[in-house]
Symmetry: C3
Subunit: 274 residues, 3 copies
């Protein structure tokens, strides 16, 4: 895999989303849920938010990917998440897990551990402290929106953690921060796109995960799907950052997310893959 | 009823909302709830979101309309919806039903059937696949944001479905899509206003329903109320569509929704009524 | 306390938030929750939204302030709120209460009365009808977004109600409206900043409370914290109000909220304190 191949894959994935309009089912939190729906629409997909156990069999059957986000977990949605991942596994659709705040409470940490012991997700996307928690390494959490891979000195360490977790579980692991790391245990991508403003509004992590889900819904190359999604968010964040305040940044971010395509990724992408 | 009469009715309805500031109670989903509250405020009304059974008696008593939206239905909110519609019926306030995703799961389909067997809503607003489900006609659902009346070839069929459902239940039926169809079983309006971008952000359907509720809160001419609301959303969508991306579109949509009045509807409206 | 001293306090508080990035835990409603998270981030803090009883011990331990907002109360979140305030009191972190809709239903009214009999909040922030309800004075509620201190004739009455409630409970009371009143039973501030558009979008009250919580997280001068927060919201609202519609207003409001500092408050502030 080289960058040229990745751009080719990304172009195909982004095109396929606009053509096939995949249905992306999300059981997510009530903080960022609207942005998680809108980012799927912006990419050309069709979001369904449904978390009642009574309808999961029907909804998962309609869907091309399942995104699980534990941002505002409670016992009702927790049960629904376990049921949904079982059905999704049976039906063979990709399962994308965002372990929001794993490590911040034992309730979240234990829920994630229990989930990954039940079902192997297709992709896990989190910040460094969340991924450390999933990997059962000690960490220190500063809120749910902080703690990423934010310095060159951390890159090698983060690569190692992601690689080991990917090999252990057999899934794609994506760690977002100043640099984004994506690995499937064979390939490793390091993405330099992004902007600090992405950490100053809520939901960009959750939206990245929803984007990963949307990309996974049209391919079985889940590594390329995850890289495409994070490249897209990083580039949209850079393009939106010319604006002066966080309200305008949010608006501009969605403007650019709705215009993502392979050509833009090729023009603005800053990553290497090996 | 002709277009001139409708513009007169719309002008009065939009004015009455700004003067009387009706309270619009909504039991809705957690995806689009903020937009559903903001659109009521933008029109000059006062939204209340409350879904705990313990307070429904008090809240419905304060309110001038009740909007029920099953977008993220669960058993707790389902019970609350049934209680609220009973109280609203007893008190004689209009009940507006948005059967989001009816047809996508039997849980939603059955809930809607049960609701309309308990209480006749004042207005039902949905896309074509949802209205087909309410009418117990087979359909095919592509996510909750898709499937409308989107071609001239479908208009006659949609008119028939809406008309029959309206006559059967004795309520106003509004089907939104590329063309919006509104009927009360006597009059029939076809609205051509709108823009494809309205289908590319989440919540415009839910917001349309909230607007119907706001209009119904100040009149007992529910047909004119529904037409006014859908005209308003369609025109605001057209005016907002000059913007290049979906973030700016959302912002501009609310700018225009907050400036709706009879003069604008008369200037931009494209519909016929018979 | 004079205005000069207050500006000095505000400057320190706003700086301390950007330096220390306090964690602000909120149990709030699903209508305005994203804005409540974003305003904490805009000021430089770190929001955590968590409402499952199973994790409150862990989350409150991480946090520097707890914000309770009863906007869409139900029995599950009600229990969580009671548990969270007990833990927060034990740990000595400030508790900020937003009694949204108190007076609109006996469920809300009684919940608030029960809360303040269990634990003395650090700050209570509400509109006039909500504060009247907390003080067990009769009022008339017009929706949850209305009823403030909106005329000079009401200022003296509002000051009296706030003062008495503050003295009775031993906490800071903040009443927002056309004029904002803040008192700790010793000092009294009257803030003239603000703009009517703040009442035309949902969430500005909830966001004000979240801002109070963010300020309280870095100081034990809770009176200055509350004044700083309300000054900040009022000034941001004025600066945002040049825009023509409510969509642009919301965007501009967050632009200005993300740029608040002591210099801006000194330049634009209109208040007196005694």
């Amino acid at each position: 895999m080289d960058t040229k191949q990745m751009y080719s894959n990304s172009t195909e994935i982004l095109q396929a989303i606009r053509e096939r309009k995949p249905i992306v089912h999300q059981i997510t939190n009530y903080v960022t849920v609207k942005d998680c729906a809108n980012v799927v629409l912006a990419m050309g997909g069709s979001p369904i938010m449904a978390d009642a156990e009574q309808e999961l069999e029907d909804i998962v059957r309609l869907s091309n990917a399942l995104v699980i986000n534990i941002g505002t977990l409670n016992d009702r949605t927790r049960s629904s998440m376990f049921l949904a991942i079982s059905i999704a596994q049976d039906r063979g659709i990709p399962i994308i897990l965002d372990p929001v705040g794993a490590g911040a409470s034992s309730y979240r940490t234990n829920t994630v551990q229990s989930m990954i012991s039940h079902v192997v997700p297709t992709v896990i996307r989190g910040n460094l402290s969340e991924i450390r928690s999933v990997a059962q390494l000690s960490s220190h959490t500063f809120g749910v929106d902080s703690a990423g891979c934010d310095g060159t000195e951390q890159i090698e360490q983060t690569k190692g953690i992601a690689w080991n977790l990917s090999r252990k579980l057999g899934c794609v692991v994506a760690v977002t921060g100043k640099f984004d790391i994506v690995t499937d245990g064979t390939f490793m991508a390091i993405i330099e796109n992004g902007h600090p403003a992405l950490t100053q509004i809520t939901g960009t992590g959750c939206m990245s995960t929803a984007m990963v889900g949307t990309c996974c819904a049209v391919t079985d190359d889940y590594f390329s799907a995850a890289v495409t999604a994070l490249l897209g968010m990083g580039i949209a964040g850079e393009l939106a950052s010319v604006h002066a305040g966080l309200g305008s940044f949010h608006t501009a971010l969605f403007d650019h997310l709705s215009r993502l395509d392979g050509a833009l990724l090729m023009q603005k992408g800053a990553f290497h893959v090996s």
